[in-house]
Amino acid sequence: MKYLSEYRDPELAKKYLEEIKNTVSRPWSIMEVCGGQTHSLVKNGIIEMLPDKITMIHGPGCPVCVTPLNLIDKAIHLATEKEAILCSFGDMLRVPGSQKSLLQAKAEGADVRILYSPLEAVKIAEENPEKEVVFFAVGFETTAPANALSVVHADRRNVKNYSILASHVLVPPAIKAVMDDKESQIDGFLAAGHVCTIMGNTEYHPLSTKYKVPIVVTGFEPLDVLQGILMVIRQLEQSKSEVENQYARIVREEGNLDAQKVINEVFEVRNQMWRGIGEIPDSGYAVRDKYAGYDAIRKFDIFIDEAPENPLCISGQIMKGIKKPYECSQFGKTCKPENPLGAPMVSSEGACAAYYHFSGMVEI
C-alpha cells in the first residue's frame, strides 16, 4: 500500500528501536496525546518492544471518551423525544449515556445513522425536509473544519432543518491541564499530527517553553510513532524542551489556513467540559451567534439534568496519565467493552479499551 507500507517497514522499525535503546539512559514518561497514536501503539505491539525505561502514557485525545455524558443524553433525547434524524460518526454510538447509548436508542426505533462526513447529513436534511436532522459534531480540531463546513454549506443552501450538536475539544489547553495537575509526571509529549495538520505548530511553542517539556508533532504509522518517541528521548537526554515536527510530510508550521478560516467562521473558543476530567478553560468550540440557528442546543432549547458519572470509574486519572487502566479495580471485571463503566473502555482509541483488546499478554 503506497504511502503506508513504507511506514511499517520491520527493518527500519528495528533500527529505531535499537537507536531508542542506545539513547535512553534513565526512566522517562511520554504522553501520546492522540487516541489515534494510542491505537497505533497497541495495534502494532510497540509498547512491549520499547525499553523498560520508557513509559507511554495515554492522553485525553480520544474524542469519544471526553464527550460529556450530558451531551450524549442530549443526543439521545433529540433522537428519541424530538424524533430527529441523529447522524453521528460510528464509534460515538456505543458510548453509554446515563440511561442508554445511541445504539440502544437506535434498536428501540430512533433514526440514528452512521456517517463519515457531516456534508452527508446536510444531504439527508435536504432529502427529508419534514424532519430535523442533527449531526453529532464531536472531535478535536481535526474534525472541526468539516463540521464547520457543513454549517456553511447548509446556510448557503438555506437548509433550515439541519443543525449540529457540537462538542469540539482542543489539544493545547488539554496539554496545559495535564501539566498543571500536581500529580502528573509527564516528561514529554507526542502531539497529535492530524490536529497540527489543521492548526499548525505555533500554539505548542509557549507550552514547551512554559513547562520545559519537549513536544514532538507525530504521525500515526508505527515508524512515525517510533521516530517521534526517539526525538522526544533525544531532547530529554540533552535537557532540551523544543517543539519538533516528526510529521513534516503532512504538517506545516502554520497549518491549513483555509481549514482554520472555516473553523473561525462558524466557531468561537469557549470553556469546555471534558468527560472524566472536568471543565478546562478555552478548550472547546461553540457555534457563533451568527449561526445560532444551526446550533442544536439553542435550536431545540434542550435541558437535561447532569447525571452523575459512575463513581467507580477513574477515567479522569487514566486520561491524565496518573493511573494505568490495569490499576483500576474495575478493569476487565465489571468494566469491559461490552459493558463499559466509562468512555475510555468504549472506543478502540480509549486507553482502557486499547489495553483490554490488545495488551491481553498481561493476564487480566
Binding site: M1, L4, R8, D9, P10, A13, K14, G36, H39, V42, K43, N44, G45, I46, I47, E48, M49, P63, V64, C87, F89, G90, D91, M92, L93, R94, L103, R113, I114, L115, Y116, E120, I124, V138, G139, F140, T142, T143, H194, P222, L223, K336, P337, E338, S347, S348, E349, Y356, H357, F358, S359, G360, M361
Partner: protein, 345 residues
C-alpha cells in the same frame, strides 16, 4: 451479472402481500417461472417436502441471509444464500447435495429484482452442483422487512476421507487462509447508504465445495479443521477456536493476504480487516508435515490462488490468539463486543 434467462411477461411488476397468501397469486408467481427456472426431478414433484436419497454420514446446515443492499459489487443476496450454505456444508467435509430455499419478501419488491435474484440462485446452484428441492415464499407488509430475506438449509454427504473437527487440532498445526481477506465486508460497505465510496472492490462470494473436496481427496485426515470466516472475520473465528480447544494461536500480519484496495479502504475507514466479513474464504488447520504441499495444491485452484499460511497452533498462551504485527510487535486478538464501528479520525 448478466441475466441469462429472460424474465417472464407478467401482469404485475411488484410483489404484493397476495403473492405470499398461498392462493392464486402465489401460484401465478411460482408458475411464472420459478419452478421452471430451478427445475429438477425432485423439485418438480411439487410435494409438501422433498424425497431424498442419501447414503452414509451426512452433514446438515442452515443459514439466513439479510444483506443491505441486496445487490452489491460482485454479487447479490441470491448467490450469497446458495454459496453460504454450500460452504457451511463443505466446512463439515461434506459434498453439498440438496438445498431448501425460503423467501421472506417485503411487499413492493420489483419482480425484476426478484427474477434477477432467482437467476443468480440458479447459476450458483449449477456451479456448486446442488439442487433446490423444496422451498417457501412469504410476503410481509411494507416496512416489516428489508426487501428480501432468504433462508437456505442444506444436506450433503460426508467425504469418507474427511475427519473434520476441533478435537483434531494439534500443537504445531499450520493455519492456511484460502484467499484475500475482508473483500466481502468492504464491498458491501462501499455501497451502503451514507457510507458510499468509489472503489472497484468486489465481494468474494463463491462456492468452495469443489476446491475443498479436492483437498480432502488428496490429503484426507491431514486436514484437521475447516471453517469459513464469515461474520466477524478471521479474528473472530480464530478466537472462537482458541477458546474452544484451549490451544494458543499465533498469526503473522505480514502473511495475511489482502487486496491493496481493500486494505486502503480499511485504513481510510478505520476498520480492522481481521474483523471484516468474508463470503468465499476458508481457513484450514492442517498438519505441520503436509502444510507446504497442501498450500501448493490449494494455490493451483482458482479459489485458492492467493492462499497463504498465516499462523501456527502453539502451546503457549492457551485460549489466546496473538498477532505479530508488521513491525514485529505482538498483540492479543479478542472478539469484538458488537459490530465494528468506524472510528472518528
Amino acid at each position: 451479472m448478466q441475466l441469462q434467462c429472460p424474465m417472464p411477461i407478467l401482469d404485475f411488476d411488484i410483489i404484493t402481500l397476495g403473492h405470499g397468501s398461498g392462493g392464486m397469486l402465489t401460484n401465478k408467481l411460482l408458475d411464472s417461472g420459478v419452478f421452471d427456472l430451478l427445475s429438477n426431478d425432485i423439485l418438480d414433484e411439487r410435494h409438501d417436502g422433498a424425497f431424498l436419497e442419501l447414503h452414509g454420514k451426512i452433514a446438515f446446515s442452515t443459514d439466513s441471509f439479510l444483506v443491505s443492499p441486496i445487490f452489491f459489487p460482485g454479487g447479490n443476496i441470491g448467490e450469497l444464500a446458495v454459496n453460504g450454505t454450500v460452504n457451511d456444508l463443505a466446512m463439515c467435509g461434506a459434498s453439498p447435495k440438496y438445498l431448501s430455499l425460503s423467501f421472506i419478501i417485503e411487499e413492493g419488491l420489483p419482480v425484476k429484482d426478484f427474477w434477477e435474484i432467482l437467476v443468480s440462485i440458479k447459476i450458483a446452484c449449477e456451479k456448486a452442483g446442488v439442487k433446490i428441492v423444496t422451498g417457501d415464499t412469504k410476503v410481509v407488509e411494507k416496512g416489516k422487512g428489508d426487501k428480501i430475506f432468504i433462508n437456505t438449509s442444506g444436506v450433503g454427504t460426508i467425504n469418507p476421507k474427511a475427519n473434520i473437527g476441533k478435537k483434531n487440532i494439534q500443537i504445531g498445526d499450520k493455519i492456511i487462509v484460502s484467499g484475500n481477506i475482508a473483500s466481502h465486508g468492504m464491498a458491501i460497505l462501499s455501497v451502503r447508504e451514507g457510507l458510499e465510496f468509489d472503489s472497484e472492490i468486489q465481494s468474494d462470494t463463491t462456492y468452495l465445495n469443489h476446491c475443498v473436496e479436492d483437498l480432502l481427496n488428496n490429503f484426507g485426515t491431514d486436514i484437521h479443521l475447516l471453517t469459513d470466516p464469515t461474520r466477524g472475520g478471521v479474528a473472530t473465528v480464530l478466537k472462537e477456536i482458541a477458546e474452544a480447544t484451549a490451544v494458543g494461536i499465533e498469526i503473522y500480519q505480514k502473511n495475511l493476504p489482502i487486496d491493496d484496495q481493500v486494505a486502503s479502504a480499511c485504513e481510510l475507514l478505520g476498520l480492522d480487516s481481521l474483523y471484516v466479513a468474508n463470503e468465499g474464504l476458508f481457513i484450514a488447520f492442517v498438519s505441520e508435515e503436509k502444510a507446504a504441499v497442501i498450500l501448493e495444491k490449494l494455490r493451483q485452484d482458482t479459489k485458492g490462488r492467493n492462499a497463504k499460511i498465516i499462523g501456527t497452533v502453539v502451546a503457549n498462551h492457551p485460549k489466546q490468539v496473538v498477532l505479530e504485527s508488521a513491525i514485529g510487535g505482538k498483540r492479543v486478538i479478542s472478539m469484538l463486543p458488537g459490530e465494528q464501528l468506524p472510528r472518528i479520525c
